[in-house]
């Protein structure tokens, strides 16, 4: 038999993987949460910005107040977060110019979703929450993934300590897994504030990327009001 005609067993083709490839994304750490109430909404985020084991800044705010008094809380890539805020704010101002009034929170929420999806092929590496007062005067918080999937929520947390805080919010804000609790009860401002502070002081203990300072925004019909607390610097 002609050796050349002998079939060789089929081998899986060897794929070349470049493990040294540059990535346009960096995770700057940090955590953001939002709690919605009957007539207010709260956004809390820490201010530490890191890159791996390095701290870039102890005070680099992650939550931004928009001109219609909504608050955009962010987590993920700092540069993308800031740019997303700037782009969203521009769109809100354009709306104001064209409609001669401020954009409503639900409209802004949809706008944010579309803005993020428009970058489907090179997403904003941001996991935002948008918080504001809806048309009926109730607190509204919307959470998104990096390509704009939107959901209205009462309690959500994104960022490096989300795995620590989200279960806590599920239990204490949404009253999940509590037998005799009313799952539709909304928190008062004081309750939400305490929960936010406790969530962050605890997360700061265990998550190296969370700490330094805590900014808490409360948005109601009167506007957005900010408070700050210190967190551990280690």
């Amino acid at each position: 038999m002609d050796l050349a005609m002998q079939a060789r067993p089929m081998e899986a083709p060897i794929e070349a993987h470049n493990h040294n490839r540059w990535s346009p994304y960096v995770d700057n750490g940090g955590t953001t949460l939002a709690i919605a109430g009957a007539d207010y909404v709260l956004v809390a985020s820490d201010t530490r910005q890191s890159d791996g084991y390095l701290i870039n800044s102890r005070y680099s705010p992650k939550a931004f107040v928009l001109s219609n008094n909504a608050v955009l809380g962010t987590s993920g890539c700092s540069a993308d977060s800031k740019r997303l805020y700037e782009v969203l704010e521009q769109r809100a101002q354009l709306y104001q110019h064209r409609h001669d009034r401020q954009i409503s929170t639900p409209a802004l929420a949809q706008l944010l979703s579309n803005t993020m999806y428009s970058r489907r092929m090179l997403p904003y590496y941001v996991f935002p929450v948008l918080a504001g007062i809806d048309a009926k005067g109730a607190g509204a918080a919307y959470s998104y993934d990096a390509v704009g999937n939107m959901q209205r929520v009462t309690g959500v947390c994104f960022g490096s300590a989300s795995a620590l805080i989200q279960p806590f919010l599920d239990n204490q804000v949404r009253f999940k897994n509590q037998r005799d609790a009313d799952p539709n009860r909304l928190l008062t401002r004081e309750e939400a504030f305490k929960i936010a502070v406790d969530a962050f002081t605890s997360a700061t203990e265990r998550d190296i990327y969370t700490g330094d300072y805590l900014e808490i925004f409360i948005v109601d019909a009167a506007g957005a009001h900010k408070e700050m607390r210190e967190l551990k610097h280690d």
């Binding site: 700037e86 521009q90 101002q93 354009l94 110019h97």
Partner: protein, 245 residues
């Protein structure tokens, strides 16, 4: 002006050194109702007469907000004004995005001046048929500029454009040296007094046909219409009683 052989397009000079199409565009500005602008050390104000095409219709908007620190008043083709104001708004937002600061008023008017100039030098295009008074406050203080269809831009202490605006300009010339120290309220009333001089016989300034705009240090661009103008119009009548001019 009569029709002549040099007025067919914007790319033809006349022997006397006029581009007639540009001059004709300025005539459109003179057809619009009067607007007055004036400034003090801290604020700059616009007042305008609004026109309504019939009793059934609303009054045409005369003052447009460009940004928190800038606004314009319009005399002439309102559609051209809309295009220019959209352009100014975009430029103002772009300035904030690119340079992190509010668009300086001088740059803004240079931008529309340049834009208007291209329409005076290209075959087939027509000049903008609108004049603007641009007010704004930046880090060099309050400013008032006139923009005209030729693309010429000038800065003023006080000025007026539109129908019968010469009467207002005369009033401003007599009084402008007093403007610097006036409060915002007093400045608005001064503007209304000048604007009143442009009204034809038998017509009054009232809350339906008057529009007020102002901006300054610590004062975002604000536009008042309807009931918002009444307190200032009331002061105008009081001031008339004490008029020493």
């Amino acid at each position: 002006m009569f029709r002549n052989q040099y007025d067919n397009d914007a790319s033809t000079w006349s022997p006397q050194g006029c581009i007639f199409q540009v001059d004709y565009a300025s005539e459109a500005v003179k057809q619009g109702t009067a607007v007055v602008g004036l400034k003090s050390k801290t604020h700059v104000v616009l007042v305008a007469v609004k026109r309504s095409p019939s009793e059934l219709a609303s009054y045409q908007k005369k003052i447009i907000r460009i940004d928190d620190h800038m606004g314009i008043a319009v005399a002439g083709l309102t559609s051209d004004a809309r295009v220019l104001s959209n352009y100014l708004r975009t430029e103002a937002m772009r300035s904030k995005m690119v340079y992190g600061r509010a668009l300086p008023v001088g740059r803004a008017v240079s931008a529309i001046g340049d834009k208007a100039q291209t329409n005076t030098q290209e075959y087939g295009r027509r000049p903008y048929g609108v004049g603007l008074l641009v007010i704004g406050h930046d880090d060099t203080g309050p400013h008032l500029y006139e923009f005209s269809p030729s693309g010429i831009v000038s800065e003023y202490y006080g000025y007026s454009i539109g129908a019968r605006s010469q009467s207002a300009r005369t009033n401003l010339e007599r009084n402008f040296e007093r403007f610097e120290e006036l409060s915002l309220q007093e400045l608005v009333v001064q503007g209304l007094r000048a604007l009143r001089d442009t009204m034809p016989q038998g017509k009054q300034l009232d809350s339906m046909n008057t529009s007020i705009g102002f901006v300054g240090m610590d004062t975002k661009m604000t536009i008042l219409d309807g009931d918002g103008t009444q307190p200032y119009l009331d002061q105008l009548d009081e001031a008339e009683a004490m008029d020493t001019e």
